[in-house]
């Protein structure tokens, strides 16, 4: 089974070196072969299980609390202007 690595790199926003790309393509294609049995299962309308436990929302009191300071959040950004994250322009 052929894996389109160009599309996959676009989807994951992940640049690969030519060597990585060749190696991972081989590995992913081998993995797909290994998944063939699961893909061939006839599970009809068996229910999906996205989480092992039933979630119950735990709500705190509806009161105003201190929010995380902008400076604290921006300290993790590779670049910022003191107010917003800074990124390369996407238009002139």
């Amino acid at each position: 089974m052929n894996v389109d690595m160009k599309t996959l790199q676009d989807l994951t926003m992940l640049a690969l070196s030519p060597e990585e790309c060749a190696q991972l393509q081989d590995e992913l294609e081998a993995k797909l072969v290994g998944m063939a049995e699961l893909a061939a299962l006839d599970l009809q309308d068996a229910p999906l299980c996205v989480t092992p436990l039933e979630h119950t929302n735990v709500l705190r009191d509806d009161i105003v609390l201190e929010h995380t300071a902008r400076e604290a959040l921006l300290q993790h950004a590779p670049a910022h202007n003191g107010e917003y994250y800074a990124a390369p322009a996407i238009q002139e």
């Binding site: 894996v3 599309t7 996959l8 790199q9 989807l11 994951t12 926003m13 992940l14 640049a15 690969l16 070196s17 990585e20 190696q23 991972l24 590995e27 992913l28 993995k31 797909l32 290994g34 998944m35 049995e37 699961l38 893909a39 299962l41 599970l43 068996a46 229910p47 999906l48 299980c49 996205v50 989480t51 092992p52 436990l53 995380t68 604290a72 959040l73 300290q75 993790h76 950004a77 590779p78 670049a79 994250y85 990124a87 390369p88 322009a89 996407i90």
Partner: protein, 346 residues
């Protein structure tokens, strides 16, 4: 000496919290298993000692030093998850488990290394070598079985994940590592958010689940890839200097920041969610998960080897598993974690 024995010696004033903390800090500084040291540990030790001297009842492990896998937030200590992408990242709040440890009087002396966004052989190695009496790590069954130490992979949801760097959101679980199961059980009771001590029933036989491992890998990688989207070189993570536009910023930053094993998981997860593959693989993986969970709901306690084929069952169904030093694990019903651990020693 076990962690409980150490705490008893502290309570009996045979040793001070500061002396014990200093002793383990020295070991941690000399160890390659540690990636960060808590420089405030001695100060915290003095605070805990003062509370104990004032007669305050903290916990059965008060004063005991411990360490955390490097994917758990401690304010003021770096948290890199073993990744170049997060090198130098400093959390701005404590994880809920860290708040609970502090309230219980345990002293976090440092962070233990890990494979990039994965397991922590270093946590298992540090406990085995006596470099630290206790550690917390996310599902570390393989490494703990290899090193011959106890570990509890708790029931999913029993321990808060707030302040844990998300990897596989529907499976992530923080659990204790120690050289005896009693230490693990007491530490789990301290960090758990709910009753994890419900009684267990009798042992039962486990049916075969031939597709469980494939289903687990698909779900885990899909969630892993989604969780790592936030590391993009713009709001979080290191930014590539080679990029000339926004798209390249994302791609090059992630390409340079992630290691090969992480890229493999991200790509596989995305492949499983793309186009027709969503129905062909991902949906079926969720259906298999449902079948596994339905069957395992009736299981009370069962002994299994620690390996990928069996580890995935507790992950898919969110069940607790107690890893023993002999390389076996006891998997049980949800929220029976402590009873399972006590049953192991009975």
């Amino acid at each position: 000496m076990t962690a409980l024995q150490l705490a008893a010696a502290i309570a009996a004033k045979k040793v001070t919290v500061a002396d014990v903390t200093a002793q383990y800090l020295e070991k941690a500084r000399a160890s390659a298993n540690f990636v960060a040291i808590n420089e405030s540990a001695l100060e915290q030790a003095a605070q805990v000692q003062a509370k104990l001297d004032a007669g305050e009842a903290l916990s059965p492990l008060a004063g005991v030093p411990m360490a955390l896998q490097d994917n758990i937030f401690v304010q003021g200590m770096p948290c890199a998850c073993g990744s170049a992408m997060l090198e130098g990242y400093m959390p701005i709040f404590d994880a809920v488990v860290v708040e609970k440890l502090q309230a219980a009087g345990l002293i976090v002396i440092g962070k233990l290394g890990m494979n990039e966004f994965a397991h922590s052989p270093q946590a298992a190695a540090a406990v085995t070598a006596g470099e630290i009496p206790l550690a917390l790590a996310t599902d570390n069954r393989m490494a703990c079985a290899e090193h011959g130490v106890w570990h509890i992979k708790p029931t999913y949801g029993a321990v808060s994940r707030l302040g844990l760097v998300a990897q596989v959101s529907s499976m992530d679980a923080i659990g204790p590592i120690a050289r005896c199961v009693e230490d693990c059980a007491v530490l789990l009771e301290i960090i758990a958010d709910c009753n994890v001590a419900q009684p267990v029933g009798s042992n039962e036989n486990l049916p075969e689940f031939p597709h469980a491992l494939a289903a687990c890998e698909i779900i885990a990688c899909a969630e892993f890839g989604a969780n790592l989207q936030k590391f993009d070189g713009v709001s979080l993570g290191k930014r590539s200097t080679k990029a000339e536009n926004l798209s390249e910023t994302y791609k090059f930053s992630r390409g340079e920041g992630f290691g090969l094993a992480t890229k493999r998981r991200v790509l596989f997860g995305s492949l499983m969610l793309a186009g027709d593959n969503y129905e062909l693989y991902y949906t079926k993986a969720l259906q298999v998960r449902g079948q596994v969970k339905d069957v395992l709901t009736s299981i009370s306690a069962i002994e299994l080897p620690v390996d990928e084929a069996h580890n995935c069952l507790a992950n898919l169904a969110g069940l607790p598993a107690i890893v023993k030093p002999d390389g076996q694990q006891i998997m049980g019903a949800a929220f029976t974690d402590i009873a399972l651990a006590k049953g192991v020693t009975a």
